[in-house]
């Protein structure tokens, strides 16, 4: 029961005759009031047998807001399902009008979404179907991309060279500061990790080998790819997704301009052209980072470090790194552009597209990296 003193709404029943009951609503029915749950009242109502008519009365209300009509609506719904008539004429006119308005458009059949308990089998089936749909979308996108590149090679692709240069600017020079920072630090870390072990044998000079090979064959390409998937891949997905939401892609299509050529090609080209360059730059920065640690803390001169690196790293190692970065560029651009082009038409869909682009490209990158490393190992290069 309500504690004394708080403003509260009261519901009481007054039996009028055998088949009629009056329901009196009184007190305050505002948001702050404490009111008995409607279920409790309905249970009490069901105790009356042979009920045919409910008279709703509210003559001494202290105040009310949406809470009262919502409450009454629940009672009316309950009565309707049990073929009990409700006489609402005892309610204030405002409430009667609101109730009438709420009842004016009947609930559309089948509009209400019911959550059904699905069987595990159905869930598995749905997941598989979604996976197939995704795979089909990926294949379709790859096919369209290849067609667009074929048009490019025939010299018929329609896109503005300004757009290409903007994309290059964005995917190349603008990314330099963060690539510098990350690869320098990764070089530092590699050097420290190796130095602790190698210094025990007095073999500090081999830090140069470790850092050089590690960066050039692996970390340079990988770190650049991770940075670019977060920086550029997500941006591609968000840009294209927003254009989709704003019907800009539809507008291009109806203009007779292929969005694949006009939007996707310059972005892919920019990333494919810039990634190897960024990777090369990251390699140098990584080695510089390694040199910083080794020269300052482990009694190796810069010349020694330089000579040792030159002995350890050859052109094949650079080529492998560059090849990887090229593959990563294709993967990042594909994931970013595909998620953007397939984006739904809402603000949250754009966010999902950007997230999916980053997650997909990182997964693709790591898988592709493992495959390439494995192949190189088998081939002995």
């Amino acid at each position: 029961m309500n504690t004394a003193g708080t403003a509260s709404g009261q519901v009481s029943f007054i039996p009028v005759d055998e088949s009629t009951v009056a329901m009196k609503l009184s007190g305050s029915w505002s948001n702050a009031a404490s009111i008995r749950p409607v279920e409790q009242v309905l249970t009490e109502l069901s105790a009356f047998k042979n009920l045919k008519l409910v008279l709703l009365q509210a003559h001494d209300l202290a105040g009310w807001d949406s809470r009262l009509p919502a409450y009454v609506l629940k009672i009316i719904d309950y009565c309707q399902t049990r073929h009990i008539e409700v006489d609402a004429s005892g309610l204030p006119e405002g409430i009667q009008a609101l109730l009438k308005l709420a009842r004016a458009v009947p609930e559309r059949a089948g509009a209400r979404r019911t959550t059904q308990q699905k069987s595990t089998l159905a869930e598995i089936g749905k997941t598989v179907m979604n996976g197939l749909k995704d795979a089909k979308g990926l294949l379709a996108f790859i096919g369209e991309t290849l067609l667009a590149f074929a048009t490019l090679i025939r010299g018929k692709a329609r896109f503005r060279s300004v757009d290409l240069f903007l994309c290059i600017q964005d995917a190349g020079p603008s990314a330099l500061p963060i690539v510098t920072l990350i690869s320098l630090l990764v070089g530092l870390i590699l050097a420290f990790v190796g130095a602790v072990q190698l210094a025990m044998f007095g073999a500090q000079i081999y830090i140069a080998d470790l850092v050089g090979l590690g960066t050039v064959r692996e970390m340079g390409a990988l770190m650049t790819a991770v940075i670019m998937s977060g920086r550029t891949g997500a941006a591609y997905a968000a840009q294209l997704g927003t254009m989709n939401v704003n019907s800009e892609i539809d507008a291009l299509k109806t203009m007779g301009i292929s969005p694949m050529e006009f939007l996707v090609l310059p972005r892919m080209l920019a990333l494919i052209l810039m990634m190897p360059l960024l990777c090369l730059y990251a390699d140098l920065m990584g080695m510089l980072g390694g040199a910083l640690v080794t020269v300052s803390a482990f009694d190796v001169s810069l010349i020694q470090y330089y000579n040792e690196t030159q002995k350890a790293v050859d052109l094949t190692d650079f080529s492998i790194g560059l090849f990887k970065s090229l593959v990563f560029a294709v993967l990042i651009a594909t994931a970013g552009c595909m998620r953007g082009m397939q984006c739904g038409r809402s603000a949250s869909a754009v966010g999902d597209a950007a997230t999916a682009a980053v997650v997909n490209s990182i997964v693709y990158i790591v898988v592709a990296d493992s495959v390439i490393t494995l192949i190189c190992d088998r081939l002995g290069i």
Binding site: N246, S247, E248, A251, K253, T254, M255, G256, I257
Partner: protein
């Protein structure tokens, strides 16, 4: 009789298993201002997508004059699409380009004009929609109504034979909406452009419509086609009358 500009036969529109409208049959004549009308959610905008090449019909055909739009090869379809202009509900201007670049885009891609000629055309088209001097503004710097007019300028860039409007007066104040209606009529009168408008704005429907189709979400098909004024005068269908009179005829009938 001349061939109608657009003929739709037995068109069924569906999203997956969900059928939106079935068995649509109507024709749009040269120089018509054709209204696609109906209650919310009946598939007006989807019908527009079928006409402008964004969504393939589940069944049936769309003919541009005698050419089957959806059975034509991709190149053919793109060639037909180049003869149409579309004004999207939001304007759909390319947000990374200025107004001038937006309008110049189709001109640069599909004509041999030099930059100077294109700039002249761009200024002329912007002046037509009352946006002279706004060449170097980005879409985000303009109000909704201005964006819409700029979208119209872009749709008209290549002097299309058919112009499609998706809810042109949505989000416009009554005076701007009226001005846009006037602009639509004068485009038809001066250039002979065929115009297709998706709208449920009654004032526009009666002011400009010379032909129309009425889609019904309940029966999932069209209820009538013809001039809106004639439909109001002659139709015996309660739903159409109710729509065209804002439901006020209900009151009259019960008296």
């Amino acid at each position: 009789m001349t061939t109608p500009h657009i003929t739709v036969t037995n068109l069924t529109m569906a999203y997956g298993d969900f059928v939106l409208q079935r068995d649509l049959n109507f024709t749009i004549e040269h120089g018509d201002i054709f209204i696609i009308m109906g209650g919310s959610g009946c598939g007006k905008s989807t019908l527009l997508k079928h006409l402008i090449g964004l969504q393939r019909p589940a069944k049936g055909d769309v003919f541009y004059e005698r050419q089957d739009f959806w059975r034509a090869s991709d190149e053919e379809r793109v060639r037909i699409m180049r003869r149409i202009g579309v004004l999207y509900q939001s304007g759909a201007l390319f947000s990374s380009l200025t107004l001038a670049e937006n309008i110049a885009l189709p001109l640069g891609e599909f004509t041999d004009m030099n930059a100077h000629e294109i700039a002249d055309i761009v200024s002329y088209k912007l002046a037509l929609v009352g946006l002279a001097g706004f060449e170097d503004y980005y879409p985000s710097e303009l109000s909704g109504g201005m964006q819409k007019r700029a979208g119209l300028a872009r749709a008209m860039a290549l002097d299309p034979e058919i112009l499609f409007f998706d809810e042109p007066s949505a989000g416009l104040d009554p005076v701007s909406a009226r001005l846009l209606d006037d602009l639509i009529v004068s485009l038809r009168d001066t250039l002979g452009t065929t115009i297709v408008v998706v709208t449920h704005e009654l004032a526009s429907i009666f002011a400009i419509g010379s032909n129309s189709v009425f889609l019904d979400p309940d029966t999932k098909t069209m209820l009538a086609t013809g001039s809106p004024k004639k439909l109001l005068a002659e139709s015996s269908d309660a739903k159409i009358i109710q729509f065209l009179t804002r439901g006020e005829s209900d009151a009259n009938k019960s008296v």
